[in-house]
């Protein structure tokens, strides 16, 4: 009988209906032990090896510095640690030109759709590295404003602990990701697709 009932009866969608941008369900984990199938192919298998090798040695990261971890990420690209030794020095502001997203810092609930959109705009193949305690699982910020791990929004390939991780720790994570790419380990399952939730502006 109230105004709300009238609006519902008129079929007007509530513009303030809560939209969930991240998965609340158990985050899907990557299965273990999946590597490149040992086929007997000569041309395509060898070509895939060359492709994976070249992809692993030209990881262009998208700039996604969210907090203090970004300082260490910048430090890793500076002269002392020099991330360009692994072909990853070209931090791209456009996600269309990036292969790797280094999520450096705590992800707030408001920032989650932005992260997801940038991930969707990156061309395949793409990888995500979660840098630091906050990006990996929320860290000390166990509260309503911080997404408890970016693996609830995007599939994360490598987790790097630390608060913030030193550049050595980040480089170790990037080396691990390179190994993973060379072994042709697939990306972990997409948390949003697995949980069946959608986000604003998505077609799926």
């Amino acid at each position: 009988m109230g105004v709300e009932d009238d609006i519902q009866n008129a079929g007007t969608p509530n513009p303030w209906a809560p939209v969930q941008y991240f998965s609340n369900t158990q985050t899907p984990r990557a299965p273990r032990g999946i590597e490149r199938p040992e086929g007997f192919g000569i041309v395509l298998t060898q070509m895939n090896k060359v492709l994976d090798w070249s992809r692993s040695n030209s990881l262009w990261p998208a700039t996604f510095g969210l907090a203090c971890c970004a300082i260490e990420m910048m430090s890793a690209s500076a002269s002392r640690w020099d991330i360009s030794r692994f072909g990853a020095e070209v931090f791209r502001a456009s996600p269309r030109q990036a292969d790797l997203m280094i999520v450096a810092g705590r992800l707030s609930v408001k920032m989650a759709p932005v992260l997801r959109r940038i991930y969707d705009q990156m061309p395949e193949p793409k990888w995500v590295l979660s840098m630091g305690a906050c990006a990996s699982c929320g860290g000390v910020f166990n509260n309503y404003a911080i997404v408890q791990g970016v693996d609830k929004v995007v599939p994360v390939d490598v987790y790097v602990p630390g608060c913030p991780p030193t550049p050595d720790m980040l480089l170790y994570g990037i080396n691990l990701l390179q190994e993973k790419i060379r072994k042709h380990v697939p990306n972990p399952p997409d948390p949003l697709k697995v949980s069946g939730q959608t986000y604003l502006g998505s077609e799926n």
Binding site: R29, A133, S136, P161, C163, L176
Partner: protein, 242 residues
């Protein structure tokens, strides 16, 4: 134009013979400071008993709730630690951990320290929950870990007094980090025994007061307490007059 080009090339030539600053990480590792805080290590006594007595102080001190312990009583046939209890389960979630070292400070037996192990990344987050078997040092070794580095006096650059009027706060050497205040002028005037009243608006006086000796600081603290008592007495007097 040509001169500028030569100048730029000169810079290149100047740096030509120098050693590169780059640490080529996977092959060559940098020298870590002795107080570096990396992964946790649980220690043992010389006789092989575990130092951890399952007191939960580290789990209570942890700001990120990264430590999970289940303690169990020692028995005669299962004697793990010298105390009444031992930690049957000791899990550290390194993804939650912020490597602050509070667990190390809280530990009464020096059982847990943060060592310079930093190669910790993983593709599966559950691999980064380290269990007791992974954290405990092997049987036969009894080290103290980074406790020795923390017991040694701090490097001089970390104990420089704050740029205030006195180098001591509550009788302890004051640093900008420990006190959290810089050269802020205050309204109260502090009386240093054997010297004049410090004018806080005069920078030179502040510079003088920076070099207060340790003994004087003790006196200063006593004087401060006495001054407070006098103030209280005056207040009482004032109330009586009213």
């Amino acid at each position: 134009m040509a001169m500028e080009m030569l100048k730029g090339l000169g810079t290149t030539l100047k740096e030509f013979g120098k050693k590169p600053t780059t640490v080529s990480y996977p092959e060559e590792k940098r020298e870590l400071p002795p107080r570096f805080r990396g992964r946790h290590v649980l220690h043992r006594y010389e006789n092989g008993l575990e130092r951890c007595i399952g007191c939960f102080l580290c789990a209570g001190a942890c700001p990120a709730d990264a430590i999970y312990i289940e303690a169990e009583e020692n028995s005669d046939d299962n004697h793990i630690s010298p105390g009444e209890r031992y930690a049957r389960i000791y899990d550290v979630n390194l993804l939650r951990c912020i490597f602050c070292g509070y667990c190390e400070q809280a530990c009464p037996t020096g059982a847990i320290t943060l060592e310079n192990i930093y190669e910790l990344a993983s593709t599966h987050p559950e691999d980064l929950v380290y269990h007791k078997e992974q954290l405990l040092e092997p049987v036969g070794s009894a080290t103290r870990g980074s406790l020795e580095a923390w017991a040694a006096p701090a490097p001089a650059e970390t104990t420089t007094p704050l740029p205030g009027r006195q180098g001591f706060f509550d009788g302890l050497p004051a640093t900008a980090a420990s006190v959290g205040q810089a050269d802020l002028p205050t309204e109260t005037e502090i009386l240093v025994p054997g010297s004049e009243t410090i004018n806080t608006s005069n920078p030179s006086d502040r510079a003088d007061a920076r070099t207060v000796e340790a003994a004087e600081a003790g006196d200063l603290r006593d004087a401060g307490d006495a001054g407070d008592a006098d103030d209280a007495g005056e207040m009482v007097d004032g109330q009586e007059e009213r």
